[in-house]
């Protein structure tokens, strides 16, 4: 107990010399009470024996069968052992990354539902100490299962004569990746409400990041997403050991095994993976600690969310910078002739990819930082109590539209830079269809501001309904209409433009020159649709703004009237009885 508390309790004896665990102590798992809890409960022999046996049987089967088959095919023992490494890594990944992440999120959700998490919150162990305890304690069974695969790894390493440096760097990246997924599981566990759902979603997300994301997103020009998995390090470190040489020129997925371009620099996949995953671990850690301190707090503060968006923008642009400045040829997403037009098409499309991906990120961040009406009212009451008229702009309970405008400005700034570079490199001229950069940037800014305002005014649940009805239904209606008329005209474009999703794409389409052919009629329809859509979006934004201002006025009036009433003493107030 600190000296401050001792002095605050002059009349209370302190019969014990106990001392709350220090942060340094709780960072050591074996001295961390939470870790010890899970070490006891999850490693109880009768519960864990099934998983131990399963791990041993499967791993031994895979390694022994693979090795025997290769030896029978006259492979030398060294090569046979090395070839098994990737199989072993997959098993280890399934254990620690997939099963472990599910265990982390499900375990934390279960503790929250049972309310036993509250007990741990009320101990003097620091939030970071608790985070470490849950992070390494919840998946302790999976770490034990991983340990059971180590004899097989030792066999592969010794017979395969794998360099120690390679082993160390691969498993270093592997464990950073594991910690990233587990921290993500903790952050999900602090927010989600059903442990079965949390378990499944966490495991699916890990599979998505490792299996779908690298091959899917790399085709869209956002290669840095691939470094959320352990594949780049495997490609860089393991493939040479097993005798496979990736050819970056072919499949874009294989480009992740070569150095990572970032503006005018180049990083090794190992370094870039560690940097990127380290930043995400920090973010998930911040989310978990904030929710740990208060379950009603937003997972991220507004300044952190803004910094995260800015970092993402810098990363996204930096990753494609060599391509848009013609320093390097971009990887082509689909098998196509590597012509100048194909390259221009890919690089020109990067602007749209950037806009849509940053929009999705902004929606996620807005969902986190936009206060509910309940919190907004709480913010006013708190501010009035402290002699202010409203909550500070960057506080959780504030609904400052200026802050949302800053988010939009950061995102649009990135798009403007990207468009300028693509244009300066002459890609639009090659395509012969210049993107209307200013129009696209303006629409993007409005769409972002509208999205924030939507969340702010209608709340998250009703916003989801709007997304379904206003964002998707016009596109589906246009498809049905186009299928009916077997054409695409002004009516189709007008219907489609009601959706902000379609509007963003349409706003970049340039108007055709007078006297063009059939294809230009479609462009003309798109350009007209963009005008209609922009007008509709402006009206929607204005309507939301007016509705929000009405909410603000009523909340202000309500809180101020209550505040005035509270200054008048009431006869049935809380005055203590006379002695």
């Amino acid at each position: 107990m600190s000296a401050a508390i001792e002095s605050a309790l002059p009349e209370i004896d302190s019969p014990t010399l106990r001392r709350a665990p220090t942060l340094a102590e709780t960072l050591l798992p074996w001295r961390n009470p939470v870790f010890r809890r899970f070490f006891r409960s999850r490693l109880r022999f009768r519960k864990a024996i099934f998983w131990y046996l399963l791990t041993l049987i499967v791993t031994t089967f895979v390694v022994s069968l693979g090795y025997t088959l290769q030896i029978n095919r006259s492979q030398p023992p060294q090569a046979a052992a090395r070839n098994l490494w990737i199989s072993l890594l997959v098993i280890q990944g399934l254990i620690l990354m997939v099963k472990g992440t599910g265990a982390v999120s499900a375990g934390l959700i279960q503790d929250r539902i049972d309310r036993t998490l509250d007990y741990q919150r009320l101990t003097p162990v620091s939030p970071l100490g608790n985070l470490v305890g849950y992070l390494f304690g919840l998946p302790v069974l999976e770490y034990a299962m991983f340990a059971l695969t180590l004899p097989h790894l030792a066999f592969i390493a010794v017979i395969g004569n794998i360099p120690t440096g390679t082993l160390v760097s691969v498993y270093c990246a592997f464990f950073v990746c594991v910690v990233l997924y587990h921290t993500m599981g903790i952050a999900a566990g602090m927010v989600m409400r059903r442990w079965v759902l949390g378990n499944m979603l966490s495991m699916l997300l890990v599979l998505f990041v490792n299996l779908l994301l690298p091959s899917l997103v790399s085709r869209l020009g956002l290669g840095f997403f691939q470094y959320l998995s352990v594949w780049p390090v495997i490609g860089q470190k393991v493939l040479p050991v097993v005798g496979v040489t990736p050819s970056p020129g072919g499949n874009p997925f294989l480009s992740i095994f070569s150095d990572v371009p970032f503006y005018v620099w180049s990083f090794s996949p190992f370094t870039f993976t560690l940097l990127l995953q380290g930043a995400l671990i920090l973010t998930f850690g911040v989310m978990a600690v904030r929710r740990w301190k208060s379950s009603t707090r937003h997972s991220l503060s507004k300044p952190y969310a803004l910094a995260f968006l800015a970092g993402f923008v810098v990363l996204a642009i930096g990753n494609v910078w060599p391509f848009v400045t013609r320093a390097e040829p971009p990887p082509l997403p689909f098998p196509m002739q590597n012509t100048e037009t194909a390259v221009a098409l890919v690089v020109g499309g990067l602007s749209y990819v950037y806009a849509y991906v940053v929009w999705i990120l902004c929606l996620l961040l807005f969902a986190i930082i936009v206060p509910s009406h309940q919190h907004y009212v709480r913010g006013i009451r708190r501010a009035l109590k402290h002699g202010r008229s409203s909550a500070g702009r960057w506080e959780d309970d504030s609904a400052s539209l200026a802050v949302y405008a800053i988010f939009a400005a950061v995102a649009v700034g990135g798009l403007a830079i990207l468009l300028r570079e693509v244009s300066a490199a002459g890609f639009f001229e090659t395509l012969g269809e210049p993107i209307r950069s200013w129009r696209l940037s303006l629409t993007f800014a409005l769409v972002l501001f509208y999205s924030a305002l939507l969340f702010q005014t209608l709340g998250l649940r009703r916003s989801v309904l709007v997304v379904l009805l206003v964002w998707w239904v016009p596109i589906l209606a246009m498809i049905v209409l186009a299928a009916t008329t077997e054409s695409f005209g002004k009516l189709h474009a007008a219907v489609q433009s009601l959706s902000p999703l379609a509007l963003l794409f349409m706003s970049g389409v340039a108007k055709p020159a007078p006297g063009s052919e059939v294809i230009d009629e479609e462009r003309a329809a798109l350009a007209l649709g963009a005008d209609i859509g922009l007008a509709v979006l402006l009206i929607q934004t204005a309507a939301l703004w007016i509705k929000w201002r009405r909410h603000v006025a009523s909340y202000d009036a309500l809180c101020r009237s209550q505040s005035e009433l509270e200054r008048v003493p009431t006869p049935s107030g809380n005055a203590p009885l006379p002695a």
Binding site: L9, P10, P21, R37, P124, T296
Partner: protein
């Protein structure tokens, strides 16, 4: 602090908060908690001294649990100031955790830990080490009479046993402020008696205890003071006798026996400004009287002076529950009247 089983010792002398010169352990000023448009706690102010056992009573939804969860740092209030042993609760929550012991309603235990492992986890978290930790766990188990259940899993415990295990957990770090939310729910009569004795012992050692219940009589045996909460507001608080007297003073039922001329007495009483609802009940007249004991004495004097032969004049003492209901009813009426 004495750690021997509670029932084996004579009751500890009551700590008298009123005579204590110590600083308050808990001070709440203008606490407010809102859930959207619903105000759960409305401008609550309260002080708890060392040795005080304060009972917070009120119907469901009165704001008791919200108040306790704010004090336990589990709920962020709209505003308000709370100091615990001089520490600002919201500025230094981690330090305050070492002073506060919190037991929630329907307190859960971790199902896949044995009872001793459950207690060991929190003893470790509170900084007990080695042999001291084992001893402290055993002491607390003895105290709640569950030493024979130390190797039973949490999932195998009955509701009452869970309450006692969590009470043991709450006592582990010798908190100076105990927050107990409906602690007796699910406990059998013996466990309730043990709980009362444990709380009295802790209070005798100088701890302040805030205990909530929706049953006032459950608290009246163990509390030194009580507060009545309704719709987020603390309607009354003070020593339990004072609160009861004050409620009674506002409206008490009086039974008067008059040997003859009862009808005339009823007519006379009906015209008295402090009297309402006069009716004849057998040989007695029963009426509702508003006023304190001096007003009652004045009524008796006036009756006799008018020439009525009063053979008995008995203010009826209501049960605590009926007083609570009447107080809350008045509050309902006031709100409705507004």
């Amino acid at each position: 602090m004495n750690i021997a089983p509670a029932t084996q010792e004579p009751p500890a002398p009551r700590f008298d908060p009123a005579r204590s010169q110590a600083a308050p352990i808990l001070t709440i000023r203008n606490l407010r908690v809102d859930y959207g448009h619903v105000t759960a706690v409305d401008d609550l102010s309260l002080t708890l001294m060392p040795g005080e056992i304060f009972g917070l009573v009120g119907p469901n939804g009165a704001g008791k649990t919200s108040t306790i969860r704010v004090l336990a740092t589990l709920l962020e209030p709209t505003y308000g100031e709370v100091t615990v042993a001089g520490l600002d609760l919201f500025e230094a929550p981690d330090a305050a955790h070492d002073i506060i012991g919190y037991m929630p309603d329907l307190a859960p235990v971790i199902p896949d830990l044995k009872v001793w492992e459950f207690l060991d986890l929190y003893a470790h978290s509170h900084g007990f080490r080695g042999r001291e930790r084992r001893e402290r766990v055993d002491e607390c188990l003895e105290r709640v009479r569950l030493a024979d259940k130390r190797n039973v899993y949490g999932r195998a415990l009955s509701r009452g046993m869970m309450q006692r295990v969590v009470l043991a957990k709450t006592l582990l770090h010798r908190p100076k402020l105990l927050l107990l939310d409906e602690p007796a729910s699910g406990m059998d009569p013996i466990a309730r008696r043990d709980l009362r004795l444990i709380l009295e012992e802790l209070a005798a050692d100088g701890a302040a205890i805030l205990v909530s219940s929706h049953i006032l009589s459950e608290l009246s045996d163990m509390c030194t003071s009580v507060g009545i909460m309704h719709r987020g507001r603390l309607l009354r608080h003070g020593r339990i006798d004072d609160v009861v007297s004050a409620i009674e003073a506002e409206s008490a039922r009086i039974r008067i026996e008059i040997t003859h001329d009862v009808e005339a007495a009823v007519g006379w009483l009906g015209g008295h400004p402090n009297v309402a609802d006069v009716r004849v009940d057998g040989a007695s007249v029963v009426l509702e009287f508003r006023g304190n004991r001096y007003d009652r004495a004045e009524l008796l004097r006036a009756l006799v002076a008018e020439g009525f032969a009063v053979s008995a004049f008995t203010p009826e003492r209501s049960s605590i529950e009926s007083l609570l209901v009447s107080l809350i009813g008045e509050e309902h009426h006031d709100v409705g009247g507004d």
